[in-house]
């Protein structure tokens, strides 16, 4: 009784009651808003499938994945995306060859070696590098890197897979550095102290103790860097020449990728053809198939990287 009495005296009670409705409404709205991210992911994928699946049924997955004849506007149309898939993988893998040693080395330096001042200098540098619009990087590829590639390898045209890969490597760098650095920092200090106490040098500690302990975070960093490279559009569009020929060459009887050939990525194809294609045509819907491929690829990469990162943080 006493409690109820004091509650009644407390004249906020009435206000709180009417507030409850208000509060509930706000909470409901916020919950819906929280769900927005899920809705977007489902909507984008659902939309790509809704437009793409009928085209996939009509054309057949086999043609998409195994033919390199992409001629959607020809009277005898072909929808083989093999060259683009090969091109996308070529530039992205080569970008990693550039960015992984560079990025993981930089991260190791920042987390384990660098004095505060150098770190304060390099970290914003990477942030600024990450902020440069991809179209500007593509322009630099066009006017600076492509002529250099042409001169160095004696080509008439420097717009090659190599040119695109070099630029993508630079673009994947900030992602790889920042996530690898977090991975190094997450290694408990006891590990380092124990190794040092056992007589290891700092270098030995770093290479044989800290680096293996940070491994899963570094793997996640590499995956996310790869995802970034696969999805990049403007840079490869401007740097790789966009030829649809399969970029392979014979080397002692084996077919190997030719990095001095022009390639065209999946992303570039959507950018080039998306504007002119008549809405609703088979060609239009086949672009959604390419979009769905990219979506699935980046989704899987992000999903697995997320699991790896979660394990890295929860483990030990």
């Amino acid at each position: 009784m006493n409690q109820t009495g004091s509650d009644n005296k407390y004249n906020l009670t009435l206000g709180a009651k009417s507030q409850k409705w208000h509060e509930k409404a706000v909470l409901g709205g916020l919950t819906l808003n929280g769900l927005f991210a899920v809705v977007v992911v489902v909507a984008v994928f659902g939309f790509l499938l809704q437009k793409g699946l009928p085209a996939l049924q009509e054309i057949g997955l086999k043609e998409f994945l195994t033919s390199s004849r992409w001629m959607p506007t020809s009277p005898n149309p072909g929808y083989g995306a093999l060259s683009m898939i090969v091109g996308t993988l070529m530039v992205s893998v080569a970008a990693l060859v550039v960015a992984v040693p560079w990025g993981v080395g930089t991260a190791m330096f920042l987390a384990e070696v660098a004095p505060g001042k150098i770190r304060e200098f390099i970290k914003p540098t990477l942030e600024i590098l990450a902020g440069i619009p991809s179209v500007v990087i593509g322009f630099i590829a066009l006017v600076v890197v492509a002529p250099w590639v042409a001169r160095t390898f004696g080509l008439s045209n420097g717009l090659t897979a190599l040119t695109g890969a070099l630029m993508l490597g630079v673009m994947a760098l900030p992602t790889i550095v920042s996530i690898s650095e977090d991975a190094f920092k997450a290694v408990p200090n006891e590990y380092r102290d124990a190794a040092l106490a056992l007589g290891a040098t700092r270098w030995q500690t770093m290479i044989r103790v800290t680096f293996p302990a940070a491994r899963s975070g570094i793997i996640a960093a590499i995956m996310l860097g790869f995802g970034r490279a696969v999805g990049e559009t403007m840079t490869v569009l401007m740097a790789t020449g966009n030829s649809l020929a399969l970029p392979m060459q014979e080397f002692w009887g084996i077919k190997i990728p030719n990095y001095l050939a022009s390639i065209r990525t999946l992303t570039a194809t959507i950018a080039i053809e998306g504007l002119d294609v008549p809405w609703g045509s088979l060609h239009y819907r086949s672009l959604f198939v390419l979009g769905a491929m990219l979506f699935v690829l980046t989704f899987v990469i992000n999903f697995v990287a997320d699991i790896v990162l979660n394990k890295a943080q929860g483990g030990e």
């Binding site: 709180a16 507030q19 509060e23 706000v26 709205g29 916020l30 919950t31 808003n33 929280g34 769900l35 991210a37 977007v40 992911v41 984008v44 939309f47 560079w102 080395g105 930089t106 190791m108 330096f109 070696v113 390099i122 540098t125 942030e127 600024i128 590098l129 902020g131 440069i132 619009p133 991809s134 179209v135 500007v136 990087i137 630099i140 006017v143 630079v170 550095v177 106490a197 040098t201 270098w203 290479i207 996310l224 995802g227 696969v230 999805g231 559009t233 403007m234 569009l237 950018a271 998306g274 809405w279 609703g280 959604f288 979009g291 990219l294 979506f295 980046t298 990469i301 992000n302 997320d306």
Partner: protein
Amino acid sequence: MVKPEQLRNGKKLHISEMLGYGILLLFALSSVAVLVYFIGSIASRGLSSISWTFLTEVPRVGMTEGGIMPAIVGTIYVSLLTLAVSVPLGVGSAIYINEFSSQGLFNRIIRLSIRNIAGVPSIVFGLFGLGLFVAGMKLGQSLLAAAFTLGLMTYPVIVTTAEEALKAVPQSFRDGALALGATRWQAVRHQVLPAAIPGMATGAILGLGRAAGETAPILLTGAAYFLPRLPQGVTDQFMALPYHLFILATQHNQISVVRPLAYGTALVLLALVLLLNGAAIAIRLYYRKSKQW
């Protein structure tokens, strides 16, 4: 007593180790070199194209003369409209995730979705925007369709930075308000949010920089090849700096003639984006230093 410092530095560095440290230093410094080289190569060749006329006039004679004013204004329009879409949605999501949702599976799914949106290729958003906003909702290629598309793209940036800002507000702010009889929403609305505003502003500026520099999504949803006037409303097409640079660099029929204009456009775009990112970094540093708690 042996200090840890002596243990680390007491031993002579092996030559191979010195080499190792040298390589790491080289890796780290080369990113600085690349950045300087990138900015330098644009600035050194673009600076001579920048003039008052270049910044304030419309393109003339098939874009071989005149300025880039409509592209600058178009980029500002579309970026601000983008923020109008992404900031309310992003801040609301961040408030829900950080202040109200329980840390369960539901929360994890939301976070995973946000990270995945950030990972979806920009051209896929462009394609989605083309299919849904331009063709499906019949907005046509317009400022509005482009802003919706870019809004979805910049949403993860806004959520992530807004969440960081909310996390930085001490728990005592919430506890104090709740102890005084405020409801959870009142505590958030009147105590937590005001304290988080500077951090959220940083996120909004970062989002602005991101929207201003994106090309692939607006390429399919609203950027005009050539439009020597300002957009009159949100259903108009617009010129934009990144798309204009792309055209001058690769699509124009007199590429060598317009090369100086391309350099100038690249420099203006680069300066705009770097200025926005720099402002965001500066605000963050300022508030980190002057924070009262």
